[in-house]
C-alpha cells in the first residue's frame, strides 16, 4: 500500500516550524523535521503540497500560501465573516529577519561613545554590524584606526578615506598608518523597559 505523502501531522509540524522561524524549511531542515532520509524525499513532499495548494513557487523560491501560513489554532472558533487580515499574514517577515536576515556575519556591538549621536546612535545602544562587509561611501562603519576602534561615517574622497563623526565635537579622522574596516553597521536596536523590567 502506498503511504500518503501529505498527512495532518506533517502539515502541523510544518506550520509550527513556519510560525517559529518565519520561513519554510530548507530541504535539509525539512528532512530533519519530518524524518526524511534524503533531500529527494523533501523535494517530493514539497511538490505534493504545492499541488495541494499549501505552497506556491515564485521562480525557484517556495512561498507558503494562506492555506499553510494563515492557519491558526484558536481555543474558541469565532463564527461569522472570515477576516481578510488573516490572508495577508503569509507574506510577513519576523523582526529578526528584517534586521538581520539570513546572515552568518552579523555581530552585535554595544555602543559606549557618543560620536554618532547625530545619526541616532546613542551610548548604550546595540548596533548590528555586518562583519567583513565592504563599505561604500556614507555607510556607517566600525573601523580600527592606528590600533583604536571607532564608529564613524565612511567617506571616500579624491584624497582618500575620511572617517567622520555625527557629532561636531569630533574632528574628521584621516587614517595615517593603518585603517581596518571591521564591518558595516546595518541597524541599531534600543530597548526601553516600558515598566516590565525583568530581573
Amino acid at each position: 500500500m502506498k503511504k500518503r505523502i501529505i498527512t495532518q501531522e506533517r502539515i502541523l509540524l510544518l506550520q509550527r516550524y513556519l510560525r517559529k522561524n518565519g520561513k519554510l524549511p530548507s530541504f535539509r531542515e525539512l528532512g530533519v523535521l519530518l524524518g526524511f532520509k534524503s533531500p529527494n524525499a523533501s523535494a517530493r513532499f514539497y511538490r505534493a503540497i504545492e499541488q495541494a495548494g499549501y505552497i506556491r513557487r515564485d521562480g525557484t523560491k517556495l512561498i507558503s500560501t494562506s492555506l499553510l501560513a494563515g492557519f491558526k489554532c484558536y481555543s474558541s472558533i469565532s463564527a461569522g465573516f472570515p477576516s481578510p487580515a488573516e490572508d495577508e499574514l503569509c507574506d510577513v517577515i519576523s523582526l529578526e529577519e528584517y534586521l538581520i536576515g539570513n546572515n552568518e556575519s552579523v555581530f552585535l556591538v554595544k555602543v559606549s561613545g557618543d560620536s554618532m549621536i547625530g545619526a541616532g546612535i546613542m551610548p548604550g545602544d546595540i548596533i548590528i554590524v555586518n562583519r567583513g562587509a565592504d563599505p561604500i561611501s556614507n555607510d556607517i562603519v566600525v573601523a580600527e584606526v592606528d590600533g583604536e576602534w571607532t564608529l564613524k561615517y565612511f567617506i571616500r574622497t579624491k584624497h582618500g578615506v575620511i572617517l567622520r563623526a555625527a557629532n561636531d565635537s569630533y574632528p574628521d579622522i584621516l587614517p595615517k598608518n593603518e585603517l581596518r574596516i571591521g564591518g558595516v553597521v546595518t541597524g541599531v536596536v534600543r530597548r526601553y523597559y516600558g515598566g516590565t523590567r525583568e530581573s
Partner: protein
C-alpha cells in the same frame, strides 16, 4: 581528481573565537577552561610557549604569568560553529558536521559550478571564514575523508594541503602511521612490532595482515588511505541528541553517599535540561572518574523513555553499587542521557503505568515553576542532603557573555548573535 573531499578544521577554535570577539587579545597567549582549571583550548601564541590542551592552569601561570585565562563560553562557540557550517554550505550542499570545529565538505563536481579549481575553492573558504567570522581554518583536500583529515592537520594554522592520488605512496611514506585518524597509540605500538612505522608501510600491508592486526576499522582506514572511498560525507545531521552533565569535586572523596549524591545531582541537572527541551530517553550512562583520571561506567536501559529523575534513580543506585569501590578515591561523577528523542504524541506500551507518567509530569511541571522562582535544585532528591552546602566559586568563572547581559536578556536566555567586544 576523481573526488574532492575537503576537511575544514578551525585553528585553535575556542581561543580563536575569543580573539575574534576581543580584538585586544589578538597576538597574545590565551587559554580557555578557567571553569575546570585545565586548558581546553590554547591560542597559537600560547602553543608557541609550550602550553597545550589538557595541562593545568597552575602550570600555565608558571610558564607564562601574563597568559590570558578565560572561562569557556560554549554558547558563543556553538554560534560560531553553526555559522561556520552555514558558510561551508554555500560552497556545497553536502557538509558533514563532524565536531564543533571541523567539517567534511564533498566538493566533487562543484568546481564547475564555481568555475574555480578545488584549490581556489579551498582558498576562498578559508578567506571567507576569516573575513566574516574572524577565525582561521585549515583545509585538507583529497579523494577520501581520512586523507583529507590527514591533510588538514599537516600545515596548521591556516594551511591548505592537498593530497593528490599521483604520488600518494611517496607522500604516505613520509607520514607516521599514528597521524592517521583512528590509529591510536596502542595500535601504533602493535604495528611497530611488525615493522610498520609510516602510513606508507601501513598501506603496503596485505589485506589479511591489516585485518589481523587492526580489525575491521583498520581495514576501512587502510582502504581510505589508499584512495578508495569507504566513508561517505554524511550530510544529514543525526537526530540523536544526548545530554551530558558532569561535575568534579575537590578534594577527591571515597564517601559512598556523597559520591552517589553527586551522581543524583548530575542526573537531576540532565533531566532539567531534557524537560526544557522536551526530550526523553531510556538510556542512561553513569560515569565515575577516579583520582588517577581513569574511569568506570555503567549503562542503564529502562523500559520506557522518560525525563523524570525519579524513574532513573532506583536503577542508578543499583549500577552505582555495582561499580563503586570504597577503597578508591573519586574526583568526579557524570551522567549521560543518550539516544534522546522528542516527546511526541503519547504512546503507552502495554507495561506502562499511564497514571504514574502523567502524575510525574505534573509534579515536574510544578518543580520547574518553583525552580524558576527560588533557583535550580530547590526541590531535589533526598540524597542531596549528603552534598556539601554550595561554596559559590562559579561566579568568577562565568563567561563574559553571561555576565554582561544585553537589556532584556536573562541568564537563561540570550540573543543568538555573538557580541563583538569592541569599544566604540
Amino acid at each position: 581528481m576523481k573526488r574532492a573531499i575537503a576537511h575544514v578544521d578551525a585553528d585553535a577554535f575556542f581561543a580563536s573565537v575569543e580573539q575574534s570577539l576581543h580584538p585586544e587579545y589578538r597576538g597574545k597567549p590565551l587559554v580557555t577552561g578557567l571553569e575546570r582549571n585545565i586548558v581546553s583550548a590554547a591560542s597559537y601564541e600560547a602553543k608557541a610557549l609550550g602550553i597545550s590542551r589538557g595541562i593545568a592552569l597552575w602550570d600555565v601561570k608558571k610558564i607564562c604569568p601574563e597568559c590570558i585565562i578565560l572561562p569557556s563560553d560554549y554558547e558563543t562557540y556553538s554560534l560560531y560553529s553553526f555559522r561556520l557550517f552555514e558558510i561551508l554550505r554555500q560552497y556545497s550542499p553536502c557538509v558533514e558536521e563532524y565536531s564543533i570545529d571541523e567539517a567534511y565538505v564533498d566538493l566533487t563536481g562543484v568546481s564547475r559550478l564555481h568555475r574555480k579549481s578545488y584549490r581556489m575553492i579551498a582558498e576562498e573558504i578559508q578567506k571567507t571564514v576569516n573575513k566574516r567570522l574572524g577565525i582561521g581554518v585549515s583545509v585538507g583536500l583529497s579523494v577520501t575523508k581520512i586523507l583529507a583529515k590527514l591533510a588538514s592537520g599537516l600545515e596548521k594554522p591556516r594551511g591548505i594541503t592537498i593530497i593528490e592520488e599521483t604520488g600518494l605512496m611517496e607522500f604516505l611514506s613520509r607520514i607516521q602511521v599514528g597521524k592517521i585518524c583512528g590509529i591510536g597509540p596502542k595500535t601504533v605500538e602493535l604495528l611497530e612490532k611488525f615493522g610498520v612505522r609510516t602510513a606508507g608501510d601501513f598501506s603496503k600491508l596485505s589485506e589479511e595482515a591489516v585485518k589481523r592486526y587492526t580489525g575491521k576499522i583498520g581495514l576501512e582506514l587502510w582502504r581510505e588511505i589508499k584512495g578508495e572511498m569507504v566513508y561517505k560525507v554524511e550530510d544529514l545531521p543525526s537526530k540523536r541528541y544526548s545530554i551530558i552533565k558532569s561535575k568534579t569535586f575537590t578534594p577527591p572523596s571515597s564517601n559512598r553517599e556523597f559520591i552517589f549524591a553527586q551522581a543524583v545531582r548530575n542526573l537531576e541537572s540532565a533531566c532539567i535540561k531534557a524537560q526544557r527541551h522536551r526530550l526523553i530517553s531510556k538510556r542512561l550512562i553513569l560515569f565515575l572518574r577516579l583520582n588517577d583520571f581513569s574511569h568506570t561506567s555503567f549503562k542503564i536501559e529502562l523500559f520506557t523513555p522518560t525525563n523524570s529523575p525519579i524513574e532513573f534513580i532506583k536503577e542508578l543506585r543499583r549500577s552505582f553499587e555495582a561499580i563503586f569501590d570504597s577503597t578508591k578515591l573519586y574526583r568526579a561523577t557524570g551522567i549521560a542521557l543518550e539516544k534522546m528523542r522528542e516527546i511526541k504524541e503519547k504512546q503507552y506500551s502495554l507495561f506502562d503505568n499511564e497514571e504514574r507518567t502523567e502524575e510525574l509530569e505534573c509534579l515536574y511541571e510544578e518543580i520547574t515553576k518553583m525552580s524558576e522562582r527560588y533557583g535550580k535544585h530547590v526541590v531535589s532528591a533526598g540524597t542531596s542532603l549528603y552534598l556539601k552546602r554550595k561554596t559559590d566559586s562559579s561566579r568568577a568563572t562565568k563567561p563574559i557573555r553571561k555576565e554582561k547581559l544585553l537589556p532584556g536578556e536573562t541568564f537563561r536566555k540570550r540573543i543568538r548573535i555573538p557580541v563583538w567586544e569592541i569599544g566604540v
